[in-house]
Symmetry: C2
Subunit: 351 residues, 2 copies
């Protein structure tokens, strides 16, 4: 922090009381046009910027929003981090807010303590949460302590107890299913996440919807669960390709790009060609998805719009005391079709 120009210095130079300068700065009327103009002149001349610590102290708000997120493992990039952060602090800046980033702790008790600390020390006015999962401890904690927040993601489908925006992952997977069905695929497998993943279940639900819409039966043999890594994708796919040829899938829908990467490797390892022999789709539309061999069909989320919307929502609440309607929102992802689902020729004789 620097020794910077204060209200009093501006006031002295402009020949008014410093409180009057404050009024001008904050657009609180009852100042004559001439005086106001003169004051603005002095402000520009001295390059005055209001001290935010003084302002925050008096106003009892810091114009700062906190955000934390779980770090990605080294072999797995966070596909949305850059865009999400950028969109949030860009939207924040327009309203005179900034984004404070702080460390994530896997330990719930420790994490809640940090939230509490940050809020009670007056460092932040509220939080943005992301990647919620069943049993998220932060949500009830923040609600109970009346700490403002918005979330990217929801906990339960019908729960509107806090404001959120979420991507309808199920709809994304359903789009992928429609696409595969339209190409002629009839035996479609799913590489799903463990059952304790809310996001995973939401996406998987789109798989069932897709099957139902196409009038296909779901076959438990064709659903393999595991962590969303390429290793799991590889193993699961190797298993699927080893099934008897009459029940072997011709396409594999993966709940994220990492699994799809592993799946494509397994397809090649089995001497087959992804796209032509076995359709593969991912989810996230990782930047490198389009550079894989073959380029991966994937599902992209409108991250910038979500980040901007979340931040504006939170700020509106902080400023006015109520959230804009609708309180909760579900947005549709977009299917990006590439070669990993191109060129499939259905075998004759099968419907």
């Amino acid at each position: 922090m620097s020794k910077s120009v204060t209200l009093k210095e501006v006031a002295a130079k402009a020949g008014v009381s410093y409180q009057t300068v404050s009024k001008v700065v904050n657009n609180k009327a009852s100042v004559s046009p001439e005086t106001e103009k003169r004051i603005w002149g002095v402000i520009a001349e001295l390059n005055y910027t209001p001290n935010y610590n003084g302002r925050s102290l008096r106003r009892q708000r810091s114009n700062t929003v906190g955000y934390t997120w779980e770090p990605s493992p080294a072999d797995q990039a966070n596909p949305i981090l850059d865009a999400f952060l950028q969109s949030m602090f860009r939207a924040a800046e327009e309203e005179g807010y900034y984004l404070l980033c702080f460390p994530f702790h896997a330990d719930d008790v420790r994490m809640l303590k940090v939230y509490h600390q940050l809020y009670n020390t007056g460092r932040v006015d509220g939080f943005v949460l992301s990647r919620l999962n069943y049993g998220e401890a932060s949500v009830p904690f923040l609600l109970e302590n009346k700490i403002p927040f918005v979330a990217f993601g929801r906990l339960e489908d019908q729960d509107q107890s806090f404001p959120y925006i979420d991507v309808d992952g199920g709809q994304g997977i359903a789009q992928a299913m429609d696409h595969l069905v339209s190409l002629g695929h009839r035996r479609i497998a799913a590489l799903a996440w463990p059952e304790d993943s809310r996001v995973g279940n939401n996406r998987l639900e789109g798989y069932y919807r897709g099957l139902a819409k196409a009038g296909l039966m779901s076959d438990p043999n064709l659903i393999v669960r595991g962590e969303g890594t390429s290793a799991v994708g590889f193993e699961a796919t190797t298993y699927l390709l080893g099934l008897p040829v009459d029940i072997r899938p011709t396409a594999i829908v993966c709940m994220n790009d990492m699994m799809a990467i592993g799946a494509m490797q397994a397809v090649r390892t089995a001497g087959l060609q992804p796209g032509r022999d076995i359709g593969v789709t991912g989810f996230d539309d990782t930047p490198t998805a389009r550079y894989l061999t073959p380029p991966l069909t994937s599902i992209s989320q409108p991250i910038p719009a979500i980040g901007e919307n979340l931040m504006k929502r939170l700020i509106e609440y902080l400023e006015t005391g109520s959230y804009p309607e609708p309180r909760c929102e579900l947005v549709a992802p977009n299917l990006e079709i590439r070669e990993s689902t191109a060129g499939y020729v259905p075998a004759k004789g099968r419907s």
Copy 2:
């Protein structure tokens, strides 16, 4: 911000003046052990946390560090962002500091205004800069205004006018060259960046060093410059593979992974196999590098250590008024050898 417990409330309950409580909180001696214990008891009981706006106002420092970065285009992930941010705010938290993120502006004037604003409003005590390039306007501006900062990256090799940590990209490329030479490659091409890129030039310099060390001549035909995208990598490699067979390269060293991705595609398109026929190396060790086909040999940077070090350095300066020695540091990257440089069989007859 919440209505939280203040010093005065703690003091009232403990039967001392609030200034004495302040002394205890800040470990400023001259308080008897019993009183101190009693005060700590009340603090715990009331769950007191010092208000940072009051503290910042009085201390004239905010314990906050600012950081901004250029957003990546949608098809190109920022390979270091997550790790860099995490390491920075983790190190900051240990010292009671936090990281404030704010929007990047390509327009220099606008960007400098933001730096000035953030510092003069007392929102931040200093900055971390990254991705410096020739003619970076922020460096002279911050130096001139005596605004504290540290940088990830340098401007000129011998310039020590500001504290920085940089990766010796040249050494990384030189490692890749050694590796390729040891495999028997004698004609090695480089996909370089435009000449106005300081980082690019630093890396390319390692290419020349590697050639010299192996006693090989540098051939201008084998150096192609362009933006660090996969499209450029593809085109440049297509050109290189079209050269007469006696001067055609057997290996291609790329200044980043994106170019290497394009290069490998071009190699395959030409009916050759990356690794066996043409060795390819990248730089950055993007998380997906290991999942490419074939897995890409690349150069990784010790990002977490750099982020932590930078933050600690800056905080030490803010606390003590001087930077720890050494003021500037160059760290070595690490070559990650994978299949894109495996299995090469040198043609007979050539040395």
